[in-house]
Each structure stands twice: as structure tokens, then as C-alpha cells.
């Protein structure tokens, strides 16, 4: 046990450094890589009643929120945290508040749930993004 006690700071240090190195490698390999240059993207907003607003734009922005902020007539409101960025609650004044209505704005990339939130989602040329009013039971706008 004394031997372990003597070794524990060394072993602990090696473990901590190994964990840190592993995290850095995994993050470097998996982090969202923004695309440089001009991209053509489309953004749809599907409201509670099923009506849809469609936006098409050409952008130099690297992340979705940056691109959306440049679209006249499309406003996102919500709460921002350092960890996840903007948590969208209202789009064009239409609210989906999970606490109040059990509903949220799902963000889809080419019809599939995006891996990141609107602030951290790197955009790709030709990609189609959808904000879909979704109830917590999985039913979307108009359902």
C-alpha cells in the first residue's frame, strides 16, 4: 500500500495526461470544420400549423447562425449559453417553448437532425436546413 501511495501521484499524473491527450485528439478529429468560400444554402421554417417559409441565400459565413443573421425577414430569438450557443425559442415571433408547450424548434440538416446547434453548425455548400416546430412526442408542425 505504501508503494501504491508513493506511486499514486505519478500514476494519477500519467492517467490525467493520457485522458487529456485522448480528448484533444478525438476533438480535433471530430470537431465541425467550417468550409471557406461562397456557399448556396436554403433554410425552411415549418411552423406549428404546417405553413412553411422558404429562404435561399448565398453566403460567406461559416456557421449557420452567422448566415441566418444576414437573412432579412428571418429572426431567431432565444437564450444563449457559452456551452451550446443559441437555444432557439422564437422564430419570426412564433414560439416553441419546451417548458410551456412541450415543443421545440428541431434543426434538421438535409432532413436529418443536425449534430450541433444553430451557433455551432458548420455550413456546407448546397445544404438544406429546416427549423421544424416539433412537439416532445415527436410530432412536427402541422401534425
Amino acid at each position: 500500500m505504501n508503494r501504491f501511495k508513493r506511486l499514486s501521484p505519478f500514476l494519477g499524473g500519467c492517467t490525467a495526461i493520457a485522458v487529456l491527450a485522448l480528448l484533444l485528439v478525438i476533438y480535433t478529429l471530430t470537431r465541425p470544420v467550417p468550409m471557406a468560400g461562397t456557399k448556396n444554402i436554403t433554410v425552411d421554417v415549418v411552423y406549428k400549423d404546417g405553413t412553411t417559409d422558404h429562404y435561399q441565400l448565398k453566403t460567406e459565413a461559416q456557421f449557420l447562425l452567422e448566415a441566418i443573421n444576414a437573412i432579412p425577414g428571418l429572426t431567431l430569438e432565444g437564450t444563449t449559453t457559452e456551452e451550446t450557443g443559441l437555444m432557439v425559442i422564437k422564430i419570426n415571433g412564433k414560439q416553441a417553448d419546451y417548458k410551456k408547450d412541450g415543443a421545440y424548434w428541431a434543426l434538421l440538416c438535409d432532413g436529418e437532425p443536425c449534430n450541433y446547434g444553430v451557433s455551432q453548425q458548420a455550413i456546407k455548400d448546397g445544404e438544406h436546413y429546416t427549423f421544424q416546430y416539433t412537439l416532445s412526442d415527436g410530432k412536427g408542425g402541422g401534425a
Binding site: 499514486s8 494519477g12 478525438i26 456551452e83
Partner: protein, 171 residues
């Protein structure tokens, strides 16, 4: 056969006090991203109060659910925090680690917090969703680990001495 002493009212009052201390420390630091004293307190409680840490921990988990509302994250609290007392019992038994060793344990736990917490996402969303959820939070896990390491290195010794004094008053 080992004889366990029954838990007295005084023990329970102190356990309740220590649980509320965990909650207060967590809530009061919640505005700082991934900075917390809970890991350090759990290390100290395990070293000073032994098996009582389980009562303290699960009262804290229950209070967290009542305070913040029970969401998917809460289910991870049922097992994630228990890793600290289990590690202390396993690695140090009745020996007190140095502040540096305690800081390393706390720091490593902080860095792995996201990975440990991804189990509910794994069960509800599958392996890919859990992996994406975990990797997106890695910068914050690293911050969590660094914060835990620094806080434990500075506060381990003074808080340990304080809790030893509290235990002496208790007995």
C-alpha cells in the same frame, strides 16, 4: 464479521447539512461554465465520513432533481457522481491522498464527466447521437477538468482539516 454502528439522529442531521452544502455550492457556481465544488466535496466526504457519503450523495441528487427539474441529465447524476466515492474507496481505502493526488483524481473525473454522462443519450438516441453529444462538449470537459484540478489543489487541505474538526465534534 464487521459490526456496523447504527446511524444516529446527529449523524443524519450532519449528513443533511453536508448534502445541502453540496447543493448550495452547485447552485451558487452554476453561472460559471463547468466550475464546481461537488467533486472536491465528494472526495472529502468519502475520506472523512466513509459510507455516509452515499446518503449525502443521493440526498443531493434528489435535491438537484427537485431544484432544477428532472430531465434526462438527472438520470446520469444517479451514477456519475457515485464514481468519485467508489474510486476513493477503491484507490485509497482508509489512506488520505495528497492534495496533488486528490486534484489529479478530481481533474480526471472532470475531463471524463461528459463521457460518463452520455449514457442516457446512448440509451435514448443510440451510439452515434451519444458520440456526437460527447465530442461536442469536449472543450467544456477539459475546462471542467482544469477547474477541478485547480480548486482541489488549493482547497483540499483546508477543507479536509475543517471536516475532520466537524467529525471530531460529531463524536
Amino acid at each position: 464479521m464487521k459490526q456496523y454502528r447504527p446511524i444516529t439522529t446527529k449523524n443524519l442531521v450532519i449528513d443533511g447539512f453536508l448534502s445541502s452544502l453540496l447543493l448550495i455550492s452547485q447552485v451558487s457556481l452554476s453561472w460559471l461554465p463547468n466550475m464546481e465544488l461537488v467533486s472536491l466535496f465528494l472526495i472529502l466526504y468519502t475520506l472523512v465520513f466513509g459510507r455516509h457519503v452515499w446518503i449525502i450523495l443521493y440526498v443531493f441528487v434528489l435535491l438537484e432533481g427537485l431544484f432544477w427539474g428532472i430531465g434526462i441529465w438527472w438520470f446520469s447524476y444517479l451514477y456519475v457522481w457515485a464514481i468519485i466515492p467508489a474510486a476513493i474507496f477503491l484507490l485509497y481505502n482508509k489512506n488520505c491522498p495528497s492534495p496533488f493526488s486528490a486534484a489529479l483524481l478530481s481533474g480526471t473525473f472532470g475531463m471524463l464527466f461528459g463521457l460518463f454522462s452520455s449514457l442516457p443519450t446512448l440509451l435514448t438516441g443510440g451510439l452515434y447521437a451519444a458520440f456526437v453529444w460527447w465530442t461536442a462538449g469536449i472543450p467544456f470537459d477539459i475546462l471542467h477538468g482544469m477547474g477541478n484540478f485547480t480548486i482541489s489543489l488549493i482547497l483540499f487541505k483546508p477543507l479536509y482539516q475543517l471536516l475532520i474538526r466537524l467529525k471530531q465534534h460529531q463524536s
